[in-house]
Each structure stands twice: as C-alpha cells, then as structure tokens.
Symmetry: C2
Subunit: 228 residues, 2 copies
C-alpha cells in the first residue's frame, strides 16, 4: 500500500474509533485513551493526525459535511429532499454520521465549536433553494437563507425526537410527515406533485450512489493489525 | 411556615440546584454530591424527596410539563402558538426550563427515560389542534396527532440550533420564521390573518400571566440556611 493510502486509511480508522467512543460517551466523558484502544493504534499515529480531542471531534463533525452531495436533479426541490432523506437514511445505518449529529447537539461539549455542521447544512440547502428559485420552483415569498435555516433546525429536532422515542425506528415516517408539512409553503404545488417525499426515498438514493462506501465499519477485533 | 409549605420549598430548592448542575454538567457527569452542595442541603432532606439521580432528573423534566398552560383563547391556533412562544421565552429566562430541555435531548443520559417531555408536549399541542379542528380552524387534511409530533420535534431542533449558534440570542426570530413556514399548511389563512406570530408574542404572554413565578432563583449563597 502506498504511503499516502496508508495515511488515509489510518486517519479513517482513527475517526471510526472516535465516532464510536463519542457516540457512546459524549464529548466530555470521551478520552483519547479509549479512542486509542478502540482504534488499536499507537499514541504517535493518533497525535500525528489529530493533536487533541477537539481535533478528533471536529474530524468526526466534518465527515458528515463531505456526504452532503447527491446526484444532480432537474428539480432542485427534489435534490434538496434527496440530501435530507439520504442523511436520515445514514443516521440509521452509518455510525460516523450518527456520531457527528450527536456531537453537534451535545450541549455538554464545552470548548468544541459545534456551529460548523449547522452552517454547512444551511449553506448546502440554501444553495439548492437559490437554484430552485432561479428555476421558478419556489413560492414568491421564500427567502432561501431563512428557509434553509428553518429546514436545518427543524430536521435536527425531528431526528432527536425519533431517537429519543424509538431509537430511529420511525425516523423515515417522521421525516416524510415533516416534509409534507413544510414543503407546500416553500415550493409551487405544480412542482411538488412530481417530488418523491415517501419514506423509501433515502434508501432509493443510496442504492443509486455508485461509489458509496456505506459498509458498516468492522469492529476493531476483526481488523488486521494497525498500520500506524 | 407550615410543615407542608416548607416541604414544597425544600423540594423546589433541590430541583433548582439539580437543574443548575444538570445544565452545566449533563446527566452523566452530574453528581448528587454537587447537587447537595449547590442546594446547601443535607443528604437526608434530598433523599427524602428524590431517592436517586434519575428521580432528580425526572423531577426537572416534569417541571416544564407543569408550565404548558396559557390563558384560554377563542382561537385555538393562537393558544398553541402561545404555548410554544411562551416556552421559547422561558428557555431564555428560566434555568429550570432550560435544564429540562437539555436533559430531554441529552443522548448520553443512559438509564434516564427521556420520552416524557416529548409525549407530554405532543399531547398538549395535539389536544389544542383537536379543538382547533372542531372549531373549523384547520385545513381538512390535518391529522392533529401527526401534526403535533411534527411541531414538537421540529421545535426541539429550532431551539437547539439557536442555542448552538447564538446561545438563544436569535431564538425568537427563529421560532417566528419556523411558525410562518409551518402554520400556513395547518390552519386556514382566514384564521392565520388574526394570529400573532411575532417575535414579541412570548414576552406578551408571560406579562399576561398573573400568578407567574418567573423570578430567577437566587444563587445558593444568598439564601437563608436550608430548612431540610
């Protein structure tokens, strides 16, 4: 394996371990020692990539930002729905995404800048709404930046309620109901008639993504010895 | 002071201290010892009222449930808006309410049943929507229970985003924008034209409540010796 590939792989092993520990313990109680043990990694390898616990958490937080793209759609409202339903799907299947969302809502994460995910999400959704407006998909009163903030904020709560009540079992239903409540006041009804808001949408989008690396990470015990 | 008054006051002193500690530390890291110190209370007095840390947290969680009533309104959509904007106002001014909301979203609160606030809120908002439907205020497709869940879930996220980005400085603006996005797909426009959704609504409702005990609790050092 080339040196660079190995570095990328080591970084990913560390982030996967960090995500697991942050998700279980929260930011405050998580320790670098436990992340090292989970990753099966030496201190030197970890500190080379992430000098502090905050850097590890920011690494986990930014992983979800790199996953905000979906195949381009002619209808930009559909593309925004796809970004949202894909994210909802990954919350149920991908520990890294789940850890990122939990960190961003962890009010006990003192000293951790949690604004990034909210701002990035607003930027992505806001950008899609801008394009939707240019294409004439939106109702005339909609201000893309304001509406993006409403979408991003309320999604955070919809997923939190689903997590608290059913451990995400009903997340697809809740997201679908929420979108049905919100979108008729954002997009033209002539646009919405051909937008797929159903509970299956997230799964359909993920099946469509070719280069997707959605395999759940193997537990540390099954891995070959760390290369760091 | 009568014995019963003293017990109620002791209970309130303990809950205020617990709210402070839970808000600062989160459920997992909070200790009964720190709550005792903050309350200036003996172990015996505390355990008489709350046998465990979980009981203390459930006590804080249920405090917000007792604050879900507002003056009855002829328009039930306005009454629902008043419950929501009053709660938003209290998030900014009342440490007990803030601690309750944080606990209900604390995913590291292992062993704590966090479903209560979500279910109670849904019941209250759902009940108001049922009445609104009977009075003909709602659009025909609205199912009160589903819509109540959308409202409660998305509010949880709107407040979380405001907390993360601005420490609640922009909460009233975010709540107002969110309601403007959601309500036109719930209530008739003829009803909405006379509903107050402005950023000042929560403050106006609290000023109206006569028997309101919104004074911020005094810090422990200013209190007379504990009576427990």
């Amino acid at each position: 394996m080339a040196r660079q590939d190995r570095a990328i792989r080591t970084r990913q092993t560390i982030l996967t371990a960090a995500a697991k520990v942050f998700e279980e313990r929260g930011y405050q109680a998580a320790t670098i020692t436990e992340i090292l043990t989970t990753a099966g990694m030496t201190k030197g390898a970890l500190y080379f990539h992430f000098p502090s616990k905050e850097d590890l958490a920011l690494g986990v937080l930014s992983e979800q930002d790199q996953r905000l793209t979906v195949p381009a759609r002619a209808c930009k409202i559909q593309e925004a729905v796809d970004v949202i339903t894909l994210h909802a799907h990954r919350l149920q299947t991908n520990p890294m995404v789940r850890a990122g969302v939990r960190l961003s809502l962890d009010q006990q994460a003192h000293g951790l800048d949690r604004t990034g995910p909210f701002l990035n999400w607003s930027r992505v959704i806001g950008g899609l709404l801008e394009k939707a407006r240019e294409q004439g998909e939106l109702l005339p009163h909609v201000k893309p930046a304001e509406t993006a903030d409403v979408i991003v904020g309320s999604f955070a709560g919809i997923q939190a309620m689903s997590q608290a009540l059913t451990g995400y079992q009903d997340l697809n239903n809740r997201v679908s109901a929420w979108l049905r409540h919100l979108l008729p006041n954002i997009a033209l009804s002539s646009v919405l008639t051909s937008v797929d808001l159903t509970t299956q949408r997230g799964g359909a989008v993920i099946a469509e993504i070719e280069d997707d690396t959605e395999d759940p990470p193997r537990p540390a015990t099954e891995r070959e010895p760390a290369t760091g």
